[in-house]
Structures are given as structure tokens and as C-alpha cells.
């Protein structure tokens, strides 16, 4: 597609529920990133995929968070047993390749998650 698409744009859930957030990157981009942006903060890195594999998941806060990219394109961020502290905007970005800073990341508009 023309840009990075994220769905849903807004998600309200109750504490303890399971949620999935979807990211559709730019066609042909092999690198995909998830970030989390809490209120009043800058985006924080969660996980990076190169193709189908998670090359760096050092930003995932705990084992309730998991992400997949089974065919090297669309990615899903999964959050189990949601907590109020998970409320944030989840941003997805893609780039042509990974590697050095010369490859610019293109961000989606984000999925706003609210846990009641």
C-alpha cells in the first residue's frame, strides 16, 4: 500500500482481556517495527522484525506482549491479560531494509489502546 496502515485506530477493552493490533507495512518493506507511546512521552521501541523473524525484541515489557509476522508482511501485536498501564498509542513503522540509519522509517497513524 501507499503507507503504513494500522487497525483498529481505537480500541477500548477491559482489564484482563486479550487484544490484537494489526500493522500492514508498505509493500516491499522488509523491516517492521513496533513502538509504544504513552501519554506525554516519546515513542519507546518494542520489537523489530527483519522478514518473518523477530531480530530484536528487547523492548517488549514482559511476557504478556507478543508479536508475529508469519509471512514477512502484515504483523500482529498481541497483548494478553491487559492492564491499565498498557493504555497507550501503539505505533508501527516499516523501512525498506533494516541496518543503518540511512533507511528511513515510515510510521502508521497508530492504534490507541484504552484499558478500563
Amino acid at each position: 500500500g501507499a503507507g503504513v496502515s494500522q487497525t483498529p485506530s481505537n480500541k477500548v477493552t477491559e482489564k484482563g482481556k486479550y487484544v490484537e493490533l494489526r500493522c500492514d507495512p508498505i509493500s516491499g518493506h522488509t523491516a517492521l517495527y513496533w513502538y509504544r507511546q504513552s501519554l506525554g512521552q516519546g515513542p519507546e521501541f518494542l520489537i523489530y522484525f527483519q522478514g518473518t523473524g523477530a531480530a530484536d525484541d528487547s523492548g517488549l515489557p514482559n511476557d504478556r506482549f507478543f508479536a508475529v509476522r508469519p509471512e514477512g508482511s502484515v504483523s500482529t501485536l498481541k497483548i494478553q491479560r491487559t492492564e491499565r498501564g498498557d493504555s497507550a498509542v501503539y505505533l508501527c513503522a516499516s523501512s525498506l531494509t533494516g541496518g543503518t540509519g540511512a533507511n528511513v522509517l515510515t510510521f502508521g497513524a497508530g492504534s490507541r489502546l484504552t484499558v478500563l
Partner: protein
């Protein structure tokens, strides 16, 4: 480890006035430097980047930034702002030699342009 500091959480300015948004970073290795802009309900958009070469970098929408290695700064400037420049601005770095494009962001500065 790297960190990015944006000292000003909000900068109010009148239309057509100049503006400077400050960014300082801390890193034990050299870094690439970026400024992103986030308009309401939109994704982050790259304004400009410094990879190497000339320390004065020009970006979109009339913005520019200057890399100062000795002061570890990368301040963003615009000589005359418009109402449409109202947005959140994020400074970010990527360390040299990393295996990923893992951006490390500051906390952002809200530029509020008033008529």
C-alpha cells in the same frame, strides 16, 4: 546506552516569529540524528536527518537543524513559523553500528503557534 533530552515540553510562539526547539543527546558511540513531527491524529513524519557531512541539515517545510558534536546537540530551527506548524516535534537518535534502525526518542516538544 543512549538518551535524548528535549528540555522544553511546550514552546508557544506567535505566527511569523522564529523558533528553536532544543535537543541534546547522550551516547558513548556516534549517532545518527533525526527530527520527526507528529500532527494530531497522524503518524510521525520525518522532518530531517543527519547522517554525516555538513552539520547544517535542511528539511521539509522550511525547517533546519545543526549538529554540534562538542555540545551533543541537534537543535531544530525555523525562521518564520505558520499556524500549520503547530504539532509535536520529536528528536531521535540511532547509534552507529547497530544491527537495527532502533530509534531512541526524546519526550517531545509541543510547538503551539498563535495568531
Amino acid at each position: 546506552a543512549q538518551s535524548v533530552t528535549q528540555l522544553d515540553s511546550q514552546v508557544p510562539v506567535f505566527e511569523e516569529a522564529p523558533v528553536e526547539l532544543r535537543c541534546n543527546y547522550s551516547s558513548s558511540v556516534s549517532v545518527y540524528l533525526f527530527w520527526y513531527v507528529q500532527y494530531p491524529n497522524q503518524g510521525l513524519q520525518l522532518l530531517l536527518k543527519y547522517l554525516s557531512g555538513s552539520t547544517l541539515v535542511k528539511g521539509i517545510n522550511g525547517f533546519e537543524a545543526e549538529f554540534n558534536k562538542s555540545q551533543t546537540s541537534f537543535h531544530l530551527r525555523k525562521p518564520s513559523v505558520h499556524i500549520s506548524d503547530t504539532a509535536e516535534y520529536f528528536c531521535a537518535v540511532i547509534p552507529y553500528g547497530g544491527a537495527t534502525n532502533k530509534l531512541i526518542f526524546g519526550t517531545g516538544t509541543l510547538l503551539a503557534v498563535q495568531p
